[in-house]
């Protein structure tokens, strides 16, 4: 067991932290896929509006990697398919039957899983349509089945604010979790790295086999898989590492152990706009409405599918995204403080990583969607560097991307970076620059170059 200490970063102390218990959410009547979130893929439909589907029926596939299919996350009827600009598929909405049917597959026990070959596991995941749960770094895109990854990373530590406490979510699921890890370990010649928060002592993680366990200590973004890869098995051009969300590992495990695709998912609902923040037992692609009914405070709110740093703006009629397991709710605020820039500041009105306000030690802060400032040219007071625990020069990398200097982007290590690892930089930036989206812009350029 290896210990890693992360020094740079910051745990944002937000109010509305989900309680450490699991309640059951009201049963959803609709669930949805939002294929736009699968970056660098070209989804092509296999079903039409009105078709009946079972849980596990393939709904669409990727034109670039035709054997990658997406299994239906619900049993019922395709009630609507929404298209966006240039016929991009925005949403595939499935109206659920009372008694959902599921496609059934071969059942394996733990021993049989460990005896499976690499091709067998791969073909099984591709055939069942669960392959999209495996993503690769660089680029955070769906793994190419033709690749052999150097290693596979599973982060069991969600350090972003208001996210699912995986110790809570994976409790009593260790058998499926183990089965998932065993299956995934077949796909790589290297290790399956499971990274656990040092404070967590649960034996869900301590007794795992077929894996290398790492204890990580430190503030957010220590739980981000990108940071963990950087410290354990750093990327370089040509090297590919795969990652799977911890809860998806359980789903994969259940697929092998029970022979069905079980789309259930523990989702955290939190933020200062929520009355009783908690963990909910719900499912992949659940509608935001079923997760937030009777839980919202009055007044204008922003509903976010994902955490407050990297999530996407959503609304009551929206759906939680495939890779997300958090719904954050923060209020809109129109408050304009008179001479706000001269305000001495307090833990209740201002929250800052710098000591520019008297707000040190604010330990539960009601954030709103206020940007707290206007966009300006960059002000290099190390606000980015102090929250990025990577051997990367964010300021110079940002400029190389803006200048579209591909060679310099590569030299400065863009290939090791991902949008979500830079979210905290944008949070802390006094010039209110969205660093993450620029990192993504650079990754898009590199991905395009790689194809050619």
């Amino acid at each position: 067991m290896e210990r890693i200490t992360i020094k740079k970063g910051h745990d944002i102390h937000m109010s509305g932290v989900p309680a450490k218990n699991i309640e059951s959410a009201s049963h959803p009547t609709v669930v949805a896929y939002q294929p736009e979130e699968f970056r660098y893929t070209k989804p092509k439909l296999l079903v039409q509006e009105g078709d009946s589907v079972k849980i596990g029926t393939p709904l669409f596939f990727d034109k670039c990697m035709p054997n990658v299919k997406w299994a239906s996350i619900g049993g019922g009827k395709i009630s609507a398919i929404h298209y966006g600009y240039r016929r991009v598929i925005e949403k595939i909405i499935i109206e659920l039957d009372k008694n959902e049917e599921a496609v059934e597959y071969t059942v394996f026990d733990h021993h049989e899983i460990s005896d499976l070959s690499k091709t067998k596991v791969k073909d099984h995941l591709l055939a069942t349509g669960l392959w999209p749960m495996i993503r690769q770094r660089p680029y955070s895109k769906i793994a190419n089945p033709e690749d052999t990854p150097h290693s596979i990373f599973i982060s069991c530590y969600n350090s972003a604010p208001l996210t699912v406490d995986l110790d809570v979510a994976l409790r009593n699921r260790s058998s499926s979790f183990q089965a998932g890890i065993t299956a995934l370990s077949k796909l790589t010649d290297g290790n399956v790295h499971v990274v656990v928060d040092e404070k967590c002592t649960s034996n869900t993680f301590m007794d795992l086999k077929n894996t290398e366990i790492h204890m990580i200590r430190g503030p957010h973004p220590a739980g981000n898989v990108g940071i963990q890869i950087h410290h354990i098995d750093p990327l370089k051009p040509g090297k590919v590492v795969w990652t799977v969300n911890a809860q998806h590992v359980v789903t994969i495990g259940r697929l092998f152990l029970k022979g069905i695709f079980d789309p259930s998912l523990i989702i955290s609902v939190g933020g200062s706009g929520v009355k009783n923040p908690t963990h909910l037992k719900s499912r992949i692609g659940a509608s935001i409405n079923t997760l937030t009914t009777d839980r919202l405070h009055d007044g204008p709110q922003r509903l976010i599918s994902g955490d407050v740093l990297t999530g996407k703006t959503n609304d009551k009629n929206g759906f939680i995204h495939f890779y997300e397991s958090t719904v954050s709710v923060i209020p809109h605020s129109d408050k304009r403080a008179f001479l706000g820039m001269l305000h001495p500041g307090s833990g209740k009105t201002h929250y800052s990583l710098t000591n520019t306000y008297f707000s040190f030690g604010a330990n539960s802060f009601p954030f709103s969607t206020l940007s707290n400032g206007e966009g300006r040219a960059m002000m290099p007071i190390n606000s980015w560097e102090n929250v990025l625990p990577m051997d990367i020069l964010p300021n110079q990398l940002y400029r190389a991307i803006l200048a579209n200097d591909v060679e310099e982007m590569e030299q400065l290590g863009l290939i090791e970076c991902d949008e979500e690892d830079f979210a905290l930089c944008s949070f802390a930036c006094p010039s209110k620059i969205d660093v993450g989206s620029v990192i993504r812009q650079g990754l898009d350029v590199l991905e395009e170059e790689e194809k050619q």
Binding site: L339, T354, N372, N382, L412, F427, C429
Partner: protein, 391 residues
């Protein structure tokens, strides 16, 4: 304040697109956001943001300068009363100095604000709060005797050539306040080269502390300073600031408090400061060792004297630590700081033309900062490429 808010809300349509005063939107926006913090909301990415913004950073630098202004006013009154023999109380000294500083301050703010607004309107960017710091710094590095037209000319040069032609705050390569100082330094050398003191008394003259050892050969700098009777040039008095000099740079205690404040708020970077002190003390010790080999009296000046003389500490606190024009990497900041301290001593001691070296040292380092960063970035790249090639 609802009343004021209402006025601003009513005025807003005039300045938005299609309104009669559309061109001056930047001016309205500046007034609006200075009076009331912005209600802009996050769009995507991080949905929540830290409370810090550029306005806060700039206003805190200005706050750190206020003690220097107050002491500067007292000192102007004190120096002139000493020289002219008029007895005044502390308050009277303050008001005398206040009367001297206020026109300079107003001129600097009016000129700086004018150019900032002009460029913002023509180039359609928002008015940057950076001009607050520039305009607040300029009077502090000027002598109290400066004619107001020179203040206006210097501010114009500093803001336009030092900042706006590069694209405004955040894109400039030289510190605008120092560019302004350098402008009058070179444009009017007979009045401001740093060898003669400036007193707000007609016909007063005398030598600055730094000019005294520079003028004598084969002497001991500390002895020479202690023999001066016209001013009290002992170490402790130079530390407490009751000496003639530019308006804001004399009291070293207040400047050190300013440094500590900027460090505490995490606006200044400690690497620059520690580096500069190391560079200054190290180089001064080196010149002390070399002193017997030369007839140059300045070489005998001990490090702790270098620290309290001239504008070094003021430049260190408020100009060398400026994030935009300094080095942008942590290693670069060390090099930047050390070379700044070192160059200050070298220019003071070895250069025969200028008794004061801090201003030129910072401007030189501003020019070299991108080069320093280039090498730091290259070493980062080299390390990464070595790792990519290994394994």
């Amino acid at each position: 304040m609802k009343f004021l808010r209402k006025i601003l809300d009513n005025l807003e349509p005039k300045f938005t697109k299609g309104g009669p005063l559309e061109k001056f939107h930047a001016v309205f926006n500046a007034a609006d956001t200075i009076l009331f913090s912005t209600d802009e909301k996050t769009e995507s990415g991080p949905h929540i943001r830290d409370s810090i913004d550029n306005k806060r950073i700039m206003i805190l630098v200005v706050v750190a300068l206020i003690p220097c202004y107050i002491f500067g006013a007292i000192n102007i009154g004190f120096q002139s009363s000493q020289f002219s023999g008029i007895e005044r109380s502390g308050w009277e000294n303050f008001w005398f100095g206040f009367g001297v500083i206020l026109p300079i301050l107003i001129t600097a703010f009016a000129t700086g604000g004018f150019w900032e607004v002009l460029f913002a309107v023509i180039r359609k960017h928002s008015i940057s709060e950076g001009f607050l710091v520039t305009s607040a710094l300029i009077p502090l590095v000027m002598p109290p005797t400066i004619p107001l037209w020179q203040v206006a000319a210097a501010t114009t040069f500093g803001v336009v050539i030092g900042k706006e032609i590069f694209g405004g705050v955040g894109m400039n390569i030289f510190n605008p306040a120092l560019v302004a100082r350098a402008f009058i330094f070179f444009a009017y050398p007979s009045q401001i080269s740093g060898d003669k003191v400036w007193l707000k008394v007609d016909g007063a003259s005398g030598a600055t502390a730094l000019a005294i050892p520079a003028a004598v050969e084969n002497g001991n700098a500390v002895d020479l300073l202690s023999k001066i009777t016209q001013f009290d040039y002992t170490w402790s008095n130079m530390f407490w600031g009751y000496i003639p000099g530019s308006i804001g740079e004399t009291n070293k205690l207040l400047i050190i408090l300013g440094i500590l404040f900027l460090l505490f708020t995490k606006i200044a970077n400690w690497r620059v400061i520690v580096g500069a002190l190391v560079g200054l003390v190290g180089t001064a010790m080196l010149t002390n060792i070399m002193a017997p080999l030369s007839s140059n009296t300045m070489l005998t000046l001990p490090p702790h004297y270098h620290l309290v003389m001239g504008g070094f500490l003021f430049g260190l606190a408020f100009m060398a630590t400026e994030p935009v024009t300094g080095a942008h990497t942590d290693k670069g900041r060390w090099i930047f700081g050390i070379l700044f301290g070192s160059l200050t001593v070298i220019i003071r001691s070895i250069n025969p033309a200028y008794p004061e070296g801090a201003m030129l040292a910072i401007l030189l380092m501003n020019a070299f900062a991108p080069l320093i960063d280039y090498y730091v970035v290259q070493s980062n790249i080299k390390r990464r490429m070595a790792r990519y090639a290994a394994e």
